[in-house]
Amino acid sequence: MKLIEEGKISGSQFMWLLVTIVLPTAVLFIPALTIKYSGTSAWISGGVFTTIWAFIIVWVASTLGERFPGMTLVDYSSLILGKFPGKLVGAFYIFVLVLTVAIVVREFGEFLVSSFMQQTPIFVFNFLLIALAASAVRNGIEVIARMNHFVVSLMFFALIFIFTLVFSEADFKNLYPIFEGGILPIFRGFFTPMGWAGELFLIFILMPYLNNYREAKYAGYKAALMLGVIMSIDIVIALAVFGQQAADYVFPVHTLATYISIAGFLERVEAFILALWVAGITMKVSIWYYCAVIVAARTFNLQDYKPVVLPLGVICLTWSITIFDNITQLVEHFDIAWIGFSLTFEFIVPALLLLIAVLRKKRGAEKGR
């Protein structure tokens, strides 16, 4: 089966792509959402549990990918289920990915409008973000992977910058008591970040672009671990500095950045941090967008994926503005419906596919590459 784009990425580029798939929005939203339910043990649900969950997702995705080397989810679903159901799965995933792009764009637009530029219409931010991502997507996965290398370092710099500079304000007494209400609240708090950790399911679509597909599993595990560590630190620092109050902030990490003050000189840096974060979000949107485009191209059996980039962009942009009426609806959506929805497309459908593939002994041809 011929790939639509012949771009190839290395194992480490793949790993960083996976990190970017999750990190930029997760860092912004997860602390508040987990602390809300799990309180002081939020770092267990947001860090430890999510890592385990991410491992499961990576295992399912890369096992399927190794079974059908060189194929994306859409390709082997029609191999496993037959032609028409396979296309149906493809159509479902186009919907999922386009919607996710729209939601991610909306999230970040909301963040920008509410914390930096209140007078600017959200359309401007969404439009620019999607326009940037669209041009990145048209340039192909290799360019995205290369950009991502750059951007990941910027994001890490921003995070380390925030974390180290507010460290002196952290009061680790705020982390106690652990396991206050037993295990249940921890699980409850885990449901929201679960959707984020599960985003690693994009391995399904990106794996064929890997130089050596056997590296996918390892890279996935590494990315999952890295994400777990970052999320734990993120939640711990937010808790330690603000205590339970962190749950009331919409964007605790941003508030952390506003709280930085070193010697009365190094302060008021949040706009700078924001600027670095724009890069991360652009990359995240680009990767999701790319996956959406590839899935669409595979589902419609196209030779060239470029023609569908702009139409999908229009849909993403429109949805990014119309899907939610206000920011609370967005947060609530993550809290309720998204949990079930993300579980379905990130885990249940792929796991079922894997199960059926194993039962029907379907296997892709090993390609001599």
Partner: protein, 549 residues
Amino acid sequence: MFNVLRRKLKQTLGRNKDLKVPHDKFEHGEGNGDKEKHPISNSLEQNKIILKEIFNNCSDVKFREFELGTAPAVKLLLVYIDGMVSTSDIHESIMNQLMLLEGLMEEISPEHTLELIREKLLPIGELSENGDFIKITDNILMGNAALLIDGEKTALILGIKEWESRGIEEPQSEPVVRGPREGFTERMLTNTMLLRRRIKSSRLKLEIKKVGIVSKTDIGIMYIDGIANNKVVEEVRKRIDRIKIDGILESGYIEEYIQDDWKTPFPLVLSTERPDRAAAHLLEGNVIILTDTTPFALIVPVTFFHFLQASEDYYTHWVGTAMIRLLRIIAVNISLLLPSFYIAIVTFHQEMLPTALLINIASAREGVPFPAFIEAFIMEGTFELLREAGIRLPRPVGQAVSIVGALVIGQAAVTAGLVSPAMVIIVSLTAISSFSIPNYSGALSLRILRFPLMVLAASLGLFGIMVGLMALLLHLCSLRSFGVPYISPIAPFIRSDMKDSVIRFPLWAMFTRPRLIGYKEPQRQEYLQIPKPPANPKRPSGGKERDNK
């Protein structure tokens, strides 16, 4: 676009239809795949008429007729361009030989005149035969002399090129404190000599091509066989062969035709005036393209970091160089971003400034009638104008310009209330930073990009800047120079190449060539040649002393 050019060219060149030999055939010289032959006849008169017609109205082309021997006298015609050949050679090695040594002639039959002249009479190193008008014309135009012999269907081409050229001087565009003072000159053979003197290896190859339908400029492709990537060399050949243009006057012409992407503001080809730099790049596996008539050599493939390197970096201590490299990277950022950063902060993110500074800026801006963006635009524009004026003007006037300029972007503009003092600082810092980028075309691209970024900053603040930077990053990541990713040691990340990008490692640690450029023979030196004190430092010369006893 190119087709149009070619068509136009053909039209203009093909107008002179009444010539016996169509004029444009001569213009499509060798290397153009022109298979048609235009042999000369054995009648000297005939040939002379044709040549005269070809060189109609070319007063500097000299036709000198003379005779060889006494019985039977053979008519000879020497054609050359005055000023491009060595007059002393004409007099002593040619005329003197042929006209005065007539006594020899009697022994030889007239059928062998050509062999005789070629083998016995002309003491000239570079000598060839040719029987085709096109080739002969080309050779005359190149500065060779053609000797036509009555009764022979071939002419002798005498390589006696000599013309005035500038001596080797210190390069103006890339001065150094430490390092060789030699620079390339306008004469290509001098330049190849300068490189050969640095790399005395038979693996250093030179391929000469003629480019330019009218100008027929010599283009030399130099590379070290076995180090340079064959594909790159092949690609260079192909791209140079593809150039169909009337004339090449500077290597910039070549540059524009061979770079991978015409839209980018970034230079995808490095140009240098310094033979040491060119030699260093040859050793790394790059290909050098020399152009006759210009001292600027082109280096391909390049990456973005090449534009932050100066040849001096490798001659001074590595710690200092490492620091200077970092400084240059900061300078790149300042020269690209500082004005837009100022605009963004002053018009959008005022909370980022320390209170005291904000108050100062606010009070300084109190009387300024323009928004910060217009203010910045005026000042940056003024500065660019001044800089341009300073370069173009003759030196004495240039100084006057700089004095006026200092007044304009200095005190006077502030006192007049046109701009705020902070803006003056911003502009001057930007200017200084852009001067500290070693490569002119690299700095130029940053200067261009500064303005769109300012627009973005003025409309969307830091977010706008970041959007601009992301677009820039996207562009940089998609660029390639002869197949090599433009920002290569960073993205894609190549650990072994980091030694010569952001900072420079000591020379002994740079034991590999850049992976994407000189990958054929990656190792360039012995491993671990770390300089060390002598093995037994306690007794540096103890052994000898004992011997004396």
